[in-house]
């Protein structure tokens, strides 16, 4: 049988030669070690192969069943412009068809790019050390909690209810493994209730986790949270939107011990939720406890600068079951995408883009208030805020789609506030779109 598959190069002749070299008569003989009782009789019951042109049509058709409209939806994943240069750079197949840089001599490109990424994350967050990336911001947060528990040898973490619901959900799943407690801290309207938090944190608290800006877009006062953690020797873990850090004070400057988050706002497509790219940064004392990989600088035998995955001095046993984390990969390609995006924006571009986001959201908020809508946020917010609709959000979404928009996140889902809509306004939304959206919303709720 001749191969009809373009990814399989063996010809009949090749097969014949290889089999004859092996002194076997058929490929089946090479599977003689699989007991007959477990061998499949027929072919797998999956659809037949498609030629590339037909497949392309099918996939385009499938993609076209998904609706793209101007988004006023964020809640952790944001519609930002991705400079064309980003896609071109990560499409260099020397990057995307490589694996983990085990052999540094032929992986200097990847290693240097990640070293630069780590530096950019340190700069953004004001931290000393960043790793080479994590699965996503949500899982990075759970890893940070586990690190804090391991480091302090304490039994609970306190996580603000204004932290993303999916982060909190994953944290609960993760905590069930080693069996530590993840306790939620109450809200005072749109931010963490600091008075209640002060009473909740105690000598068994490994860490307090807050989000910056929080899930409702509001900016938590990290300095005040730090006062509380410091008093009890707990770590401060901050989950931060990296774009917001263009204008907000770096968490590292406000006392954060671990800063995590997702680089998605900087150069990574929304892609229905993934792959995105978590980041993880710590202060120097925690460096040796960071999960995942870190790239370090060194020299070769001739003194030339080069980069390697850092070895870490550890004791006694090979880690295996002694590991504190099982994370073995990163999101290298997306870390690269965000590094290219950050370099394209640069020092001033990042700030300008952050300010633009804040201004557009501010404009939308003020306009909504003018039209008589009430807004939950009492604290300053970044590019997202909660508008209270006179009727449930669930009933409004379809009408908004009819009007040509995708509305905000329904707070009925995780916060029991069916009339609360979390509206995101990025630099992608023009003034006209904002006005048309609010006009449509007015019409729908009347």
């Amino acid at each position: 049988m001749t191969s009809t598959f373009r990814y399989l190069p063996d010809t009949d002749q090749d097969r014949k030669e290889m089999l004859s070299f092996l002194n076997v008569s058929s490929i089946d003989e090479l599977f003689s070690d699989m007991p007959a009782s477990i061998r499949l009789d027929g072919e797998l019951a999956i659809p037949d192969a498609l030629p590339e042109p037909a497949l392309w049509k099918k996939m385009k058709n499938m993609a076209s069943k998904n609706v793209e409209l101007p988004l006023f939806l964020g809640a952790g994943t944001y519609d930002h412009y991705i400079p064309s240069v980003v896609g071109h750079m990560i499409s260099r197949s020397e990057f995307y068809t490589a694996y983990t840089p085990y052999q540094p001599e032929i992986s200097q490109g990847e290693l240097q790019a990640i070293f630069e990424f780590q530096t950019m994350v340190c700069e953004l967050t004001g931290m000393d050390v960043a790793n080479s990336s994590m699965y996503d911001g949500f899982t990075a947060l759970a890893e940070a909690a586990s690190l804090a528990v391991g480091h302090t040898k304490r039994g609970k973490v306190v996580v603000s209810r204004a932290v993303h619901p999916e982060s909190r959900a994953i944290l609960q799943t993760v905590a069930a493994g080693p069996g530590y407690v993840a306790e939620e801290a109450a809200l005072s309207k749109d931010i963490t209730d600091l008075d209640a938090l002060g009473k909740q944190v105690d000598g068994d608290t490994a860490a307090v986790i807050v989000q910056y800006p929080n899930f409702f877009g509001s900016i938590e006062d990290l300095q005040e949270v730090k006062r509380i953690t410091k008093a009890h020797g707990a770590l401060l873990i901050v989950s931060a939107n990296p774009l917001a850090l263009g204008l907000l004070e770096a968490p590292g400057r406000l006392g954060a011990d671990i800063v995590v988050g997702d680089m998605q706002p900087l150069g990574i497509p929304m892609a229905f939720g993934g792959p995105h790219c978590g980041y993880f940064a710590v202060t120097k004392p925690l460096m040796r406890k960071v999960p995942g990989r870190i790239v370090g600088q060194t020299t070769d035998e001739n003194g030339n600068r080069g980069f390697v995955l850092t070895l870490q001095a550890r004791e006694q046993h090979i880690r295996r079951e002694k590991a504190m984390s099982n994370i073995c990969s990163n999101q290298a390609l997306n870390a690269l995408a965000s590094a290219v995006c950050m370099a394209a924006l640069g020092k001033t571009g990042l700030r300008e883009m952050a300010v633009l986001n804040l201004e557009k959201a501010d404009y939308a908020c003020k306009l909504l208030q003018q039209k008589g809508f009430s807004v939950l946020n009492q604290s300053p917010f970044f590019n997202e805020f909660v508008v209270k609709l006179p009727k449930p959000v669930a009933g409004v979404q379809d009408a908004l789609i009819e009007a040509g928009f995708i509305g905000g996140f329904d707070l009925g889902l995780d916060y029991g506030d069916p009339n609360g809509m979390l509206v995101a306004v990025t630099e992608q939304r023009t003034k006209e779109e904002i006005e048309a959206f609010i006009h449509a919303l007015e019409g729908i709720v009347q």
Partner: protein, 488 residues
């Protein structure tokens, strides 16, 4: 030609920019009126300031210092570095897949949900499982999610089992995942044939055994022939069988983990199903389970009711969420595209060719390196460099010498039970000519070890940089760029 060695920070000059932002069309906001002073950034982060062309030259230069599958043979054992089809990339980049938001109303993402649903169904068939979650973002996360389900399953039955059995040839992530899931690990030694020692296994199986984690074919590339007996032993003791799908490239269409008796499976879509490794990620690690474990699968689940696709977030026994949203969707799109490209016939041929290639290459190299096991190989095989070690040349040196010929070396020093191990996985997508040329180079290096060891010991000779001082990197870690350090 001089090699480009600058860091992006070193080519930065104040005032340059590499992108353009939209114009401000709304009122400016006075930040100091809006935010308290201590929350406004005082010093801007030192991001590089470069023009777009500088940016392109920089990353193009870096890419030129990187070896991927598109550059050359990459027989990295256990990693399945097969060809990454181009149409997969194009499909994943379609706006209808790339530019949709995870919280859009279900009615506006029917195409995406349909793809996820069909991929779940396909992977269930391929693994012989009854249901699949696509949420885990990597093999290790799949392992952990699977073990959390094991835990929930036993708990539901009123049992608290604490022990997970792992063979000594297993990937290091297996015991690590077991620990993170709150189990203790017991290591089962392999016998002299490189297989799980069933008698030894029986000694450790008891009513505290939660699960056995097994890779089949194992990391030595050998099929665990006693799998049916192994499954019986575990199940009779009330334990579950976990299949590490790292080596699934050997079994497509030939058998399934379900047929073998496994209860839980993870697959690495970046290995078997051609999604690119991306320099270390992103990947995807879907998990399939047998019927009795379905209630414990993570939420949300993609379901089909009355011809519509939807997300089910409510399952009382679920272990909960393991990853944001619905998994690494962009990777799942690529794997789906691949499965539709190959169909059942194609996938079976994949495994047949992968196995043929491994055995062919193994036989070519056996006269020159120690081949520690008799049994026929599956998709990969191991060699030992113990003969070369006696001549003062180690497996790492051989690996470095391979770089001079444009090959990525095999996986080295793994599995741990083979001295000076070389683990070679040629994959089905390489041509016979490539296998022959690689064998010739390996044989040449084996001769060099005997006749001209200095050439091997001082390798690589042709790479952009020589062997790097890893000890220095570990003792005095420099993990970020700092202006001062470079000037001094």
């Amino acid at each position: 030609m001089t090699t480009y060695t600058d860091l992006i920070f070193e080519i930065s000059r104040p005032g340059r920019i590499g992108c353009s932002l939209p114009e401000r069309d709304v009122d400016a906001v006075n930040l100091s009126e809006k935010l308290p002073a201590h929350l406004i950034r005082r010093e801007a982060p030192e991001l590089p300031e470069v023009s777009e062309l500088q940016l392109v030259r920089h990353y193009t230069s870096l890419s030129n210092k990187n070896h991927g599958v598109d550059n050359g043979f990459y027989p990295l054992g256990s990693c399945t570095m097969k060809y990454n089809p181009k149409i997969n990339e194009d499909v994943a980049k379609l706006d209808g897949f790339g530019r949709i938001h995870p919280y859009q109303p279900e009615a506006t993402v029917q195409g995406a949900l349909e793809l996820l649903y069909e991929l779940q169904e396909d992977l269930a068939v391929i693994t012989g499982m009854d249901a699949v979650t696509l949420q885990p973002s990597a093999g290790a996360q799949g392992e952990w999610a699977g073990l959390m389900m094991v835990k929930a399953y036993h708990k539901q039955r009123g049992e608290k089992r604490t022990k997970v059995l792992v063979p000594d040839s297993a990937h290091g992530t297996n015991p690590a995942s077991a620990t993170v899931a709150g189990f203790r690990t017991v290591t089962i030694p392999s016998n002299k044939h490189g297989l799980v020692d069933v008698e030894e296994l029986k000694k450790h199986v008891d009513d505290d055994t939660a699960a056995l984690m097994l890779t089949n074919p194992n990391t030595l590339g050998l099929f665990e022939k006693d799998i049916v007996e192994i499954a019986r032993v575990i199940h009779e003791a009330g334990g579950l069988l976990y299949y590490d799908g790292a080596n699934a490239n050997a079994i497509l269409g030939k058998t399934t983990p379900g047929e073998m008796g496994f209860d839980i499976v993870h697959l690495n879509l970046h290995k078997t199903f051609t999604t690119p490794h991306g320099g270390g990620g992103p990947g995807a690690g879907p998990v399939g389970v047998k019927e009795k474990l379905i209630p414990f699968l993570p939420v949300p689940r993609v379901e089909k009711r009355n011809g519509r696709f939807l997300l089910n977030r409510e399952e009382p026994l679920s272990i909960g969420r393991v990853k944001g949203y619905y998994g690494n969707f962009g990777i799942l799109v690529r794997a789906y595209t691949y499965i539709r490209t190959m169909g059942p016939d194609g996938l079976r041929q994949v495994s047949e060719s992968a196995v043929l290639h491994a055995n062919y290459l193994r036989k070519k190299l056996e006269p020159y390196f120690i081949s520690p096991y008799e049994q026929v190989s599956k998709h990969e095989f191991v060699l030992s460099g113990s003969k070369q070690k006696k001549l003062g040349v180690r497996t790492l040196d051989i690996a470095k010498r391979l770089l001079d010929f444009g090959y990525h070396p095999p996986t080295i020093y793994f599995p741990l039970n083979v001295e000076e191990c070389l683990m070679i996985e040629p994959t089905e997508t390489e041509s016979k000519e490539t296998l022959d040329a690689f064998a010739d180079v390996m044989i040449r290096i084996a001769r060099e070890v005997e006749e001209d060891p200095e050439t091997v010991l001082n390798a690589p000779h042709t790479t952009v940089i020589g062997r790097l001082d890893e000890v220095k990197a570990a003792r005095k870690p420099v993990v970020r760029y700092e202006r001062e350090t470079v000037q001094s």
